[in-house]
């Protein structure tokens, strides 16, 4: 499999505050990588940096062999990097369907359109005429994912999919995941629930205080290793020094 995303010794942060230290990460085409880590570990910052919404202090970001470090979020979106941001960030005064239509503004050709999104995420179809401001948290998350899909992503970045949602709703969202991957999207997702992470991910990367401290295939890692990396306790066999 060819490498789709290559993050190379990236430092990033906000103003004087540095949140990421020497991040190295590779994601292969078609892969599903889960980022695991405590609140404030830097997972969202990493996704924003990959999407181009945040400029790294140092390091490079490559997409399909091309250096895109200098390209802003607008251009990366047109190249197929689609971020579902933390807190969903729907357009509240637009209807669900209008939110989805705006998602298609990347101008990318691909398998996703309104009918296909409605089919893949029925929760969205039921609410198509409703204003986004009037949705429940789970519905908002479903629409946010649908909106990103409308951009026909090559690399889909899902931040905190299940944060604050009822498990039943989260189940519904996750059932859409295989269909999304089948259409060829590579996925990086942030998930707090280890059971779900192990169930869906090909590979896991643990982020601790702005550094990636453990990476491995889901089959090659144990829950104890990941838990230890999450809390920063104990020694891990594959510790990466920053």
């Amino acid at each position: 499999m060819s490498t789709l995303l290559r993050v190379d010794s990236v430092d990033a942060g906000y103003g004087d505050f540095q949140a990421l230290f020497g991040i190295d990460l590779e994601v292969a085409e078609g892969e599903l990588l889960a980022l695991v880590g405590a609140n404030g570990a830097g997972k969202s910052t990493l996704l924003k940096t990959i999407a181009g919404a945040l400029k790294p202090f140092r390091g490079t970001i490559g997409l399909a062999g091309e250096d895109v470090t200098a390209e802003p979020d607008i251009r990366r979106a047109r190249k197929g990097v689609c971020l579902v941001p933390e807190g969903r960030r729907l357009f509240p005064s637009l209807t669900v369907e209008e939110n989805l239509q705006v998602g298609a503004a990347t101008g990318r050709k691909g398998p996703w359109n309104l009918a296909k999104v409605y089919e893949a995420i029925p929760l969205v179809a039921d609410r198509r005429a409703r204003k986004a401001a009037r949705l429940s948290g789970g519905e908002q998350q479903a629409v946010a994912i649908g909106r990103a899909l409308m951009g026909n992503p090559r690399l889909l970045l899902l931040d905190e999919v299940s944060l604050g949602l009822a498990p039943l709703v989260v189940d519904q969202l996750y059932t859409a995941l295989p269909g999304i991957r089948a259409e060829g999207a590579t996925v990086i997702l942030v998930e707090q629930d280890l059971n779900r992470t192990f169930a869906v991910a090909d590979r896991i990367a643990c982020v601790l205080e702005g550094r990636i401290v453990l990476t491995g295939t889901t089959a090659g890692l144990t829950r104890d290793q990941v838990t230890a990396a999450y809390f920063g306790t104990g020694a891990f066999p594959e510790v990466k020094t920053p």
Partner: protein
């Protein structure tokens, strides 16, 4: 019957106010900029029309198009060269830019054309009217301005609610950072918004100038008040509210004039204050949830 006539004339006057206010409302909605130069841009629109008609012999109806293109183009330049940068500096900076523009425009106009009124004659159209009987008459020209206002507001509504670029403008108004994640350049949206707003206010300015028979450099200080009052009476974010706001303000001024010739402005301001006190969200104002 004179009262009914005053109300009728007020409704017709409201058309111009509504058209002038539409751009103000749009710019505030999308970019959160209170454009203090809006009245002066309206006057500038009138000047472009009267100058091209008087000095270059352009037929008066064509001056409308010339003015809309010229002022619309100015909107693009102002947005790209100044407002984009100012928006990155904070909330207050863009408003100060528009304040600067509102100082520059009338002073340049005085330098170039003196403070004499620049006429924009529309011939017999200015006095032609339809007699409704019983002392009531509708002037053709006021009727045309109301029709133009309804057409402009309808087109804006169709654009914003029925087209993909319009949806993107509304999405940008909701969250300018997130549209970038969909490949939308928010600065291009701002430029488009400014062009639309400047062109519509130029149209309002030309019609205003035709109605008054001419235009003087500092009238913008008054018309900007009318535009702000119209937006606030009608309620922010509602185009039909803007039309209603224009009509309410027009009727207030017209009825005020009927009571006493020095009352129209005061009557308009009083109605505006009453709305602010008793219905601060405006007659048709909506919360985000509506």
């Amino acid at each position: 019957m004179t009262w009914l006539n005053a109300i009728l004339q007020g409704v017709l006057l409201g058309g111009i106010f509504a058209m002038a206010a539409a751009g103000l409302s749009l710019v505030f909605g999308v970019m959160r900029i209170a454009n203090l130069a809006h009245g002066d841009l309206m006057i500038l629109g009138g000047y472009v029309a009267s100058v091209t008609a008087a000095h270059y012999g352009v037929p008066v109806p064509v001056t409308i198009v010339v003015s809309m293109i010229a002022v619309g183009g100015l909107g693009y330049l102002v947005q790209r060269s100044m407002l984009d940068r100012a928006m990155g500096l904070g909330e207050l900076a863009p408003m100060l830019v528009t304040f600067g523009v509102s100082v520059i425009i009338p002073n340049v106009l005085v330098q170039l054309f003196s403070s004499d009124a620049q006429p924009l004659p529309i011939g017999s159209l200015g006095t032609a009217s339809i007699d409704l009987g019983g002392g009531l008459a509708i002037g053709w020209f006021p009727l045309i301005t109301v029709a133009a206002a309804v057409a402009v507001l309808s087109s804006l509504h169709l654009f914003l609610y029925g087209t993909q670029p319009g949806r993107i403008v509304r999405a940008t108004s909701d969250d300018r950072a997130v549209v970038r994640l969909m490949g939308v350049d928010n600065r291009r949206v701002y430029a488009l918004t400014s062009v639309i707003a400047f062109a519509t206010v130029a149209l309002a300015g030309v019609l205003y100038t035709m109605r008054q028979g001419g235009v003087t450099p500092f009238e913008g200080q008054l018309t900007v008040l009318f535009a702000f009052e119209t937006v606030i009476i009608g309620g922010l974010g509602s185009l039909w509210g803007t039309l209603a706001g224009g009509v309410v303000l027009g009727v207030a001024q017209s009825v005020g004039a009927q009571i006493s010739p020095d009352l129209p402005l005061l009557a308009g301001h009083v109605v505006f204050l009453l709305v602010l006190v008793f219905r601060p969200q405006g007659l048709f104002g909506r919360s985000v949830l509506a």
